[in-house]
C-alpha cells in the first residue's frame, strides 16, 4: 500500500510539473518551452518573457495548484467527517457561506463609509480571508449540527439549497455594495485563479499550510471515525474535539480559496475518490497527499483549458469543472463498489 501511495504520488507530481510548464508557455503570447524554462530559472534574457511568465502566468498557476490542493484535502476531511461520499466544501455550501461572509463584510464597509472601504482595501488579504473564514465556519458548523439529525442525502440537498440561497444573497448584497460605493472584488463571483495577485499568494497559502498540518495531525483518529462514532470512541478517540479540529482544518483550507479564487466547484468532491482509488485504502493519512496532488492537477487542468489560446476568452473555470466533474460524480455514484451501500 505504501508503495502504491508513493508511486501514484510521484506520477501525480510529475504530471503536475509537466502541466504547469505547459500552462506557462501559452496564453495570448505563446512562448517556446526553452524561454519559459529560462524565465523560471533566471537565465532568460528577454524581459518580456520573464514578465509574462513570472508576473502573469506563474501566480495564476501557483494559485490553481495551492487552491486545488487545499480543496482536495478539505474534501478528504469532509467525506470522512460526514461519512458521505459526495460531501465537500462546495456541495455542503461552505464555499457559498464564505462568499456570503465576504459580501456581508464588503457591504457593511460600503455603508459604513469610505474610510471603512479604504481600510478594507488596504488590508485586503487578511480582511477578506477573515470574512470568508467566518462565513465558511458558520456554514460548516451548521452542516455538522444538521448532519447529526438528518440523513446523508438530505444533508446534501440542504447543503446545495443553502449554497444557492447564499449565492443569491451574495449577488443582491454586492449590487447594493456597488451602489453605495464599495469596491466589488472583480471577477470573484465566478471561480477563477487569474485574479490572484503575486502579493496575495502568501495570504492564500499560509492558512492552507496551517490547515494541512492540522489535517495531518487529525488523520489517525479521523480514520477511526470512518467506523462510526461509537467505534471511534471505543478505539480511544475523543470524538467531539476531533470534530472541532477537523472543522478548523477545513475552514483554514477552504476560506482562503473562497476569498481569492471564488467558489471552485467539483475539485474537492472528486479528488478524494481518485485518491482512494490510487491508494487502495480509505485511511486518511495516505489520502491527504494524493488528494492534494490530484486536486491541484484537476484545478490546474481546468485553468489550462480556460486559458488555452482560444480566439476569444469565453470559458469560465466552473463551466469546465462542471462539464467534466458532474458526469464523473454520476459515474462514481452509479458504478463504484465503494459507495454501493450508500446508493
Amino acid at each position: 500500500m505504501a508503495a502504491r501511495v508513493s508511486t501514484s504520488g510521484a506520477a501525480l507530481l510529475a504530471s503536475l510539473a509537466a502541466l504547469s510548464l505547459l500552462t506557462l508557455t501559452y496564453g495570448q503570447i505563446a512562448l517556446p518551452l526553452a524561454d519559459t524554462v529560462g524565465a523560471l530559472t533566471g537565465t532568460q534574457s528577454s524581459d518580456l518573457a520573464r514578465q509574462i511568465v513570472l508576473e502573469i502566468r506563474l501566480p495564476r498557476v501557483a494559485a490553481a495548484i495551492i487552491a486545488g490542493a487545499a480543496l482536495g484535502m478539505a474534501g478528504v476531511l469532509m467525506q470522512a467527517l460526514f461519512r458521505n461520499p459526495v460531501a465537500d466544501a462546495w456541495s455542503l455550501g461552505l464555499l457559498a457561506g464564505g462568499q456570503l461572509g465576504v459580501a456581508l463584510t464588503v457591504t457593511a464597509a460600503a455603508f459604513a463609509g469610505p474610510a471603512a472601504v479604504s481600510f478594507l482595501t488596504f488590508f485586503e488579504g487578511p480582511s477578506i480571508t477573515l470574512a470568508a473564514a467566518a462565513g465558511v465556519a458558520v456554514a460548516a458548523f451548521a452542516m455538522l449540527a444538521l448532519g447529526r439529525r438528518v440523513g446523508a442525502i438530505t444533508l446534501l440537498v440542504i447543503g446545495l439549497m443553502l449554497g444557492f440561497t447564499s449565492q443569491g444573497l451574495t449577488s443582491v448584497l454586492l449590487h447594493f455594495a456597488a451602489r453605495a460605493g464599495g469596491r466589488v472584488y472583480g471577477g470573484w463571483r465566478d471561480a477563477s485563479f487569474a485574479g490572484v495577485a503575486p502579493s496575495a499568494l502568501a495570504w492564500l497559502s499560509l492558512p492552507i499550510l496551517i490547515g494541512a498540518c492540522v489535517a495531518i495531525a487529525t488523520a489517525k483518529p479521523l480514520s477511526s471515525l470512518l467506523l462510526g462514532e461509537t467505534y471511534a470512541r471505543s478505539l480511544g478517540v475523543k470524538v467531539t474535539s476531533l470534530r472541532h479540529a477537523v472543522l478548523a482544518a477545513t475552514v483554514l483550507l477552504v476560506a482562503p480559496v473562497v476569498a481569492f479564487c471564488g467558489p471552485v466547484s467539483f475539485v474537492g468532491l472528486i479528488a478524494p475518490h481518485f485518491a482512494r482509488a490510487l491508494a487502495g485504502t480509505a485511511r486518511i493519512l495516505p489520502l491527504l497527499p494524493l488528494a492534494a496532488l490530484g486536486g491541484a492537477l484537476l484545478a490546474l487542468a481546468g485553468d489550462a483549458i480556460v486559458h488555452a489560446p482560444w480566439e476569444q476568452h469565453f470559458l469560465h473555470l466552473n463551466a469546465i469543472l462542471a462539464i467534466v466533474g458532474a458526469p464523473v460524480v454520476i459515474l462514481i455514484l452509479i458504478f463504484s463498489p465503494a459507495v454501493r451501500q450508500w446508493r
Partner: protein, 261 residues
C-alpha cells in the same frame, strides 16, 4: 478480573435507572452471555461496562482499575466492542477496518509494527475473513460484516470483549461457529467475553455463566443449568405463546397458542 460494584446503569433523562445494585465478577477465560428480552437493559449494561456511557452509580473495575476513569487510549487497549450499529463508510476496505483495531497501539501516524501485523494476521485467520480482505466493507453481506467486526475486536487483543447482539444477522451454523469461536478465544487468551443475545438455546448451551435480565429491573446470575432449573429463565421469557421447559432446557409453544394456528 472484571468486577461490577453496586453498579447502576441507565439514563439521566426520563428513562431513568434501568438496572441497579449490580454486584458481579468474571474471571479470565469466562464466556458470559447476557440474556433478556428487548428493552430489558442488555445494551445499556454493556455500553456502561465498556464506558461508552456513564454509570449512574457504582463502578466497573477491570483488573482492579476503574474503567470510567481510565485514559481513553488505555481503555481502548483493554476493551474491544462489537455492536450492531451500521454506518456508511465511503471506500473503507475490510483490511482497513481490521487494521483500525491497532490504532490504540500505534504512533500518531497509525503505522503498523510487526507486533500489530501479527495480531491482525492472527485475528484474520481465527475469524476466517481472509477471502474478503480487499473487498469494500460496505459491499459484503451482513454475516460477513459481522465476522469482520469480530476479527477487528480480536485484533485489538483486549482483556475484555463486549459484543452486543452480534449474532442477529447470522444463520444458525454461523451463530454456532461464532459463539464457539468466542468461547475458545476466551479460554485461550484468558479474556473475558461478554455477549448479549436473544439466542437462548445456544447461549444456555455454550455459556460458562449467564446474566439474566428479567425486564423489570431484576437480574439473576448463574450457570445455564442453575438458571433453567430454578425457573428464572421461564420468568424472564415466558408469555402466552411460549413457555420455557426446565426439564428439556428449551422453549415450547404453549398448547393454547398452537391450537390457534
Amino acid at each position: 478480573m472484571l468486577d461490577l460494584q453496586s453498579l447502576a446503569v441507565g439514563y439521566r433523562n426520563t428513562r431513568g435507572v434501568v438496572l441497579s445494585g449490580i454486584d458481579l465478577a468474571a474471571a479470565p477465560g469466562d464466556f458470559i452471555c447476557i440474556l433478556g428480552r428487548n428493552g430489558s437493559g442488555k445494551s445499556t449494561l454493556m455500553r456502561t461496562i465498556a464506558a461508552l456511557q456513564t454509570s449512574l452509580d457504582g463502578a466497573v473495575l477491570l483488573d482492579g482499575e476503574d474503567v470510567a476513569s481510565m485514559r481513553p487510549a488505555t481503555r481502548a487497549r483493554r476493551i474491544a466492542v462489537v455492536l450492531t450499529e451500521r454506518q456508511f463508510n465511503p471506500g473503507l476496505r475490510v483490511e482497513d477496518v481490521i487494521a483500525l483495531a491497532r490504532q490504540p497501539f500505534t504512533g500518531w501516524q497509525g503505522g503498523l509494527a510487526d507486533k500489530d501485523r501479527a495480531a491482525i494476521a492472527d485475528a484474520v485467520a481465527v475469524a476466517g475473513v481472509g477471502p474478503f480482505l480487499r473487498r469494500y466493507f460496505s459491499d459484503i453481506s451482513d454475516g460477513e460484516r459481522q465476522r469482520v467486526m469480530i476479527a477487528r475486536a480480536l485484533a485489538q487483543t483486549p482483556r475484555l470483549m463486549v459484543l452486543d447482539e452480534i449474532t442477529a444477522f447470522l444463520d444458525l451454523p454461523s451463530r454456532v461457529e461464532i459463539m464457539a469461536l468466542l468461547r475458545s478465544q476466551a479460554r485461550q487468551k484468558g479474556q473475558v467475553v461478554l455477549l448479549s443475545s436473544h439466542d437462548l438455546d445456544l447461549s444456555l448451551q455454550l455459556a460458562d455463566s449467564v446474566w439474566l435480565l428479567d425486564g423489570g429491573g431484576g437480574f439473576s446470575v448463574g450457570t445455564p443449568e442453575e438458571l433453567s432449573q430454578s425457573g428464572h429463565v421461564g420468568q424472564a421469557f415466558d408469555n402466552e405463546a411460549i413457555r420455557f421447559s426446565p426439564s428439556q432446557g428449551r422453549f415450547e409453544i404453549s398448547s393454547s397458542a398452537s391450537a390457534n394456528t
